[in-house]
Amino acid sequence: MSVSAEPSGNGAAMSAPNSAAPPQTTGPMQKREARLAFSMLAPTFLIIFLIVLGPLLANFWISVKPVELGDLRAPTLLVNERVRGKPQAAGDPVTLQYRLRNSSQDYSIFEVSFTDTLPADFKPTAWPEACSVDGARLSCTLGDIPGKWRERLDIEGMAGAAFAEYRSQSKDTEPVYTGEADNVLTNLDFTLDNFRRIFDADEFWSVLRVSFYYTVFGTAGALVLGLFAAQLLNTSFKGRGFLRGLFLFPYVSPVIAVAFTWLVLLDPFSGTVNALLTKMGVVSEPINFFGQRAIEFSLFGLPLEFPLALSTVIAFEAWRYFPLSFLFILARMQSISSDMYEAAEMDGATPLQQFWWISLPQLLGILSVLFLLRFIWTFNKFDDIFLLTGGNAGTRTLTVDVYEQGFALSNLGAGAAVAVVVFVVLVTFATLFIKFSTKEEGL
């Protein structure tokens, strides 16, 4: 019998002759098949657990720990060895001095000891209690040392003839140190300061608001542009393939390339767009698209603000990601049967009526799936805003805030706390997505 994927275990069915219902137990073949399947999936599971799920959990862990960027380097004992005294001839007194320091300001190192090989032709005569000399071997036991700890150990002795000549030999051997330090990531210090700090900050709520504006308008912009572009290319004409390729450029190109191009293009001092606008007399002053937080204007006497930098960033988002929705919508439109349009034509429906009553309802499924997917991805987006504005001028979203807290302000714990917020918001969206994806089998 082959090992093929037969429906629900023949072996089990044969061993239970009386049952008309399918067997409930798993037979040996199914077990073997499942084992094979798991062994084929094992590498994937492993790497996903290590690199995605592991860090996801670790992020929660770090978010309740007081970890700064600088703490990542484990504290070590820094040993600086030097020779004091100027021995001219054999028998002159000389002192070997070890200067010791804990590299960390805050963290202790436990059970520290170090050993070193004394220079050749150096005869030690006196040494501190912590140390012992065995032949040419010096070993010192320092015990636990706190943060900021520093100490000097002097080994007095006599120089031999060779030592007097080659004093620098003393540096030939590096001291070997042993000691245990707490790992900042694995110790059991916990704190809620990170969360307190981010929720108390005035800007947090504005960051949250900016995130939602960016996500909603960026997603909607990309969808509307994509829908429009798909309408344009839904008819066949010469050069259609070329235009379709061209329309995909923004999405396919590396983000660094297009982001910097936009920066250069919209630069207030030397950018092409501003030069055009000012030279042609459209505006009197160059517009700082990525640097100006808001433009104030009044409508019917109401003072209003137009968030300029945020809008530009949203425009970039829509520009960069419309190709994706364009592709999907175009594919869906080409699969709509032409019968319906012919029937509508016979009934005298106008082009706009056909679009509104036939195309749009047919596209609704793909549009809603696209909206959800793009919504999640736009919310996750970090690169674009980071490269365009660095989160300045009122464009800081939650994802940029993770970087800002964790790396710019060097507080990894606070960064992880913001990342937790990102994740929690995301899980809410993902729940929505699962609910929708069971209804929409489009993807």
Partner: protein, 409 residues
């Protein structure tokens, strides 16, 4: 007679075409010649309106020569008359040929679009159907112009800026013409400097190695996984094939801090090995998802026949499944290559050592006030060209990959 009849609508459409054509041609002229043109948009709108009406009026089944020539002639003469022969407000002395070309392009564009707008419409009163057709034609025309400019302009500026020198950029930011006077070296100076002084040759190589290695690793992991999910039965299969995409929704920024911390302590951070662990991990789920969809579509009978004939599972995969799924493998590979090539966040966070920069990281390093902008743009071009080249070459596969991989931002 209704207000919105064929005559008024064709005149309005013509006015729109006139304004758009003048604006686009004027700006193009400015960017090509470097002389600032301020196109007379309102005059052009009037010209376009007249042209539109004339074109509509003389539209018949088999037009005579005079009927054909009427619209272009009206367009040309009114344009010269209304703008006093200075449609771009530039003296005709400067870049005369370009200006004449611009006028010719204007006439051709306006006449062609006016005719295309009213093509096949009856003279006089229009039905609602016909009116909407006309609106849609105008909207589509505007759409084509806007989309093409919107997409092409940044790339045009990127390439042209990279070919300029610092002085000419500062002197006139509008001059995006190609200056051949400096010879080959003068033109490609930024590129030559990037490759000689800024190590871009190495970055290019590193990016290529990292991307290809990511593709190989991803396939190595995802092919057996996808096969298992699509062909073998095991408890939790449906749950797995659904939730594997959820993993893909986990934002990279959430993973960055823990990975940064742990990789720092393991000494993996500032190394390509670190990148080659993270990149496949982010691409495997989507590759697996795309491949299992394709594998499910292959007939299982072929594989069963192979098993009957004594092939092992591995043999079946290597000799039957993989050769049959070459198109899917191609689109997955291209898609993963594109992701790895374009990746920015992890390269930026992990790599400190300029010796092992990828292209993305190298271009970001150019973004400082000490490096001139044409170098930055040249770096952007170097990063873009390979991926665009691959995209155009394998567009069919890549579009399949994009639609199947869909969810990636």
């Amino acid at each position: 007679m209704r207000l919105l009849n064929g005559f008024t609508l064709s005149a309005i459409a013509g006015a729109i075409w006139g304004a758009i054509a003048m604006l686009v041609i004027g700006v193009t002229l400015t960017l090509i010649t470097g002389n600032v043109a301020s196109p007379q948009v309102s005059m052009a709108a009037i010209v376009g309106g007249l042209t539109g009406s004339v074109a509509y009026w003389f539209q018949t089944q088999n037009p005579s020569l005079g009927q054909r020539a009427a619209a272009p002639l009206v367009c040309l003469f009114t344009l010269i008359l209304l703008t006093f022969a200075h449609p771009f407000t530039l003296s005709l002395e400067v870049s005369t040929l370009w200006q004449l070309g611009g006028i010719a392009a204007f006439v051709a564009a306006v006449v062609w679009s006016c005719r295309a707008t009213t093509y096949g419409l009856p003279r006089g009163e229009l039905t609602r159907y016909e009116r909407e057709m006309l609106y849609l034609r105008v909207a589509k025309g505007i759409g084509f112009v806007v989309f093409t400019i919107m997409v092409a302009l940044p790339f045009y500026v990127m390439v042209m800026t990279s070919l300029k020198s610092q002085q000419s950029l500062l002197a006139n930011p509008l001059d995006l013409s190609i200056d051949f006077s400096g010879g080959f070296y003068g033109l490609f100076r930024s590129y030559i400097e990037l490759f000689t002084l800024f190590n871009f040759g190495d970055y290019l190589l590193t990016s290529a190695i990292v991307s290809v290695a990511t593709v190989c690793l991803t396939l190595l992991f995802s092919v057996p996984g996808a096969y298992a999910v699509s062909r073998l039965k095991f408890p939790g299969r449906d749950w797995f094939s659904r939730s594997v995409l959820l993993i893909y929704m986990v934002p990279a920024i959430v993973l960055v801090i823990p990975l940064y911390a742990v990789f720092s302590q393991l000494g993996l951070r500032n190394s390509l090995v670190g990148l080659l662990i993270v990149y496949p991990a982010t691409t495997i789920p989507v590759a697996l998802y795309m491949l299992q969809g394709y594998f499910k579509g292959l007939p299982a009978e072929l594989e069963e026949a192979g098993l009957m004939d004594g092939l092992s599972r591995i043999g079946v995969i290597l000799k039957i499944t993989l050769p049959l799924s070459l198109p899917a493998l191609a689109s997955v590979s291209l898609y993963v290559f594109m992701i790895a090539w374009n990746e920015f966040l992890f390269a930026f966070m992990f790599l400190d050592d300029p010796e092992i920069f990828t292209l993305s990281r190298g271009v970001v390093a150019l973004n400082s006030s000490e490096v001139p902008r044409q170098h930055l743009m040249a770096g952007a071009v170097i990063a873009t060209v390979p991926v665009l080249f691959i995209f155009l070459w394998f567009e069919r596969f890549l579009v399949q990959g994009l639609t199947a991989g869909s969810v990636k931002g």
